[in-house]
Amino acid sequence: MAVIMHVDMDSFFASVEQRDHPELRGKPVIIGGRKDSRRGVVSTCSYEARKFGVHSAMPIGQAVRLCPDGIFLPGNHDKYEKISKEIRQVFAKFSPVVENLSIDEAFLDMTGCEHLHRSLPAMGNAVKQAIYDAVQLSASVGIAPNKFVAKLASDYRKPDGLTIIALEQIKDWLAPMPVTNIWGIGEKTAEILAAWQIHTIQELRHCSKTQLIQYFGKHGRNLYWLARGVDHRAVEPDTEAKSMGKETTFRENVTDTAVLRQVLAKLVALVGARLRKNGLWARTITIKLRYSDFTTITRSSSLPQPINSDDTIFETADRLLKKNRGTAPVRLIGVYVTQLTTVTQATLFSDPREDKLTKLMDQLNTRYDKPILRKGREL
């Protein structure tokens, strides 16, 4: 039977700041922007701040109203990235199969490794201790026979928690939980279920598989099994980057499409340069738009061949922008590339001068460490 561990760092960014600045310990620390920031969003907050009702993804303004004496910091992403790397080195000592979900969370496939430890609790504590020894930060750990239950388990007791759910416990343990705890149940699905008077996982089990598939399609089959704690997804080690992207939040909301296009061109140039620097090609281009009312859309387009030129990324992103922009003021715009590959088909009719120009621009921009050569559309 599989043994899956989910490790989640406790309020990662805030804890790092509290570790490095003893005067912040025991105080409500909110990372995401300074107090006067009109545009920022909370990315993490300390447990002290959570008591005031602050949570991640909340606009800074609202957090200030809830917690006026909070300590608001913009955060230092480079530092967090570096610490995250150190934590990943700790994981590597415990399991060869690690799937990093984000900067502060990972699945470890511990199947077979559990025999190296006295017991499952001892194994969980060993990982927690090793993380603490390396970076002096606490983590919450969940251990279960599959990913779905392991992730819920790490969230069960926080901070500094360790929760182990054995196969025979799963059914009862999940029963009283709200259906929204199930991976893939968002607002819309929850609304439909609520209309059927289904709020807990136990109640969801009363739905037949046919009924769920009829209403939710393929997703319905997943719901049926997840409600029973069955999840066969494997821990997938990320050997290479799955996506690259860049986004920016405007100081003032933007309604002028020309300005959006210009900013988009700048973001594309950064993403394109990064793609080429890593020797990668992308097949899918995605744009992200967040409007003044915080609704966020992402729209993607896949190309027949992988590409890496700024021109193609921009053409595709610009087409997506034109088609989906609407009229509402925009507060954030971003561009992402996914389906990355190192293998690409060369083409017969390409213009070798294009490639030369791109290479030259990349070289100069790298040498001076800033975009000294740009395309006209960015200006």
Binding site: Q305, A346, L348
Partner: protein
Amino acid sequence: MQFTVMQDDLLRCLQMVEKAVAVRDTAPILTGVYLECQNGRLTVRGSDSELTIEAYCSVEVVQEGNLVLEAKFFIPLIRRLPAGEVTVKLRPEQQMLEINAGSGSFQLMIMSGEEYPELDIAGREPLVNISSPLLAKMIRQTVYATEKDSGHSAFTGLLMEGTSEEIRLVATDSSRLCFNRQQLPHGSEFDIIVPARTCTELLRILPSDDESLLEISLLGNQVVFTLEDAVVVSRLLEGKYPDYNRVIPKSGDVEITAPCQELRAALGRANLMGKRGPAIVTFDLADGVLNLRSQDPDLGESEETLVVEHVGEEVKSSFQARFILEMLRTVESEKVTIRLTNGLNPGIMRPADSEDYLYVIMPVRTV
């Protein structure tokens, strides 16, 4: 309208026109098959907005006339009839067609033949006459390289180019290019881009006997292929075809000649190594030994060696295995000659005994 026809003759005509019948169309009449009998001959026609196919067979006409039948029912019915005579008779008072064959009798609703688009190819301008099996071979050796896309770019079609001495067919999807030429005296100068779908349909209906000739002609912005017992009329693709001569390499670092069958078999195995994307095969050549390697991060890897005739130094180049296989499947010679160049330069393949069929293929960048 009333006539008697042999079941196999009628079915042959229907199978020829079947693929031209519109599946769904803004004009419902185009989802039907048009029948017309006159002067001892039955004309069967299918058509959609870009392609029209007409086929003929001899019948015993009792009364001339024309009408349209729902293809989705009529064709399967004729296919299922027993061999032998089929009598077809219009019952005008009921707007029904009565079909009698064997022990069966069938009544089919009809649509008016007058509403079906006419086909008049009398004003066509002949370009060239060519043997049917020869054109079929040329199409077979090019059409697979057209772009598989629902768009209407020039790359979704075959370039047919004529001079006073030869006819050339060219296809490309910008990753590879097929070039095929045949000597054909007394031709005229022309260049047209024919949709790949039209070419595939032609392949299906072109007779294989050496004697049969067909005529290629122009009718406005359409091309007409006139066979002995059928006519194919197709829209032409607009747009400019790129200068293909520019991308056909004139030289290479290395030239090898390999037995087609063995190479095909080896590449067929290498082609299995493509779970996430197309299988990539690396040609590594030194001292008369061709080493073929492919791998897939989710599956594993394959490697095999082939002894080949080899001229030149060492070379290493990677290609999509499928691209090379598709070419090898159309080669009739026993051996194939491949010219390769190091770096991101195109390779070129041809039957060992001919310069008339060239296949230019771009390599794959790998890290």
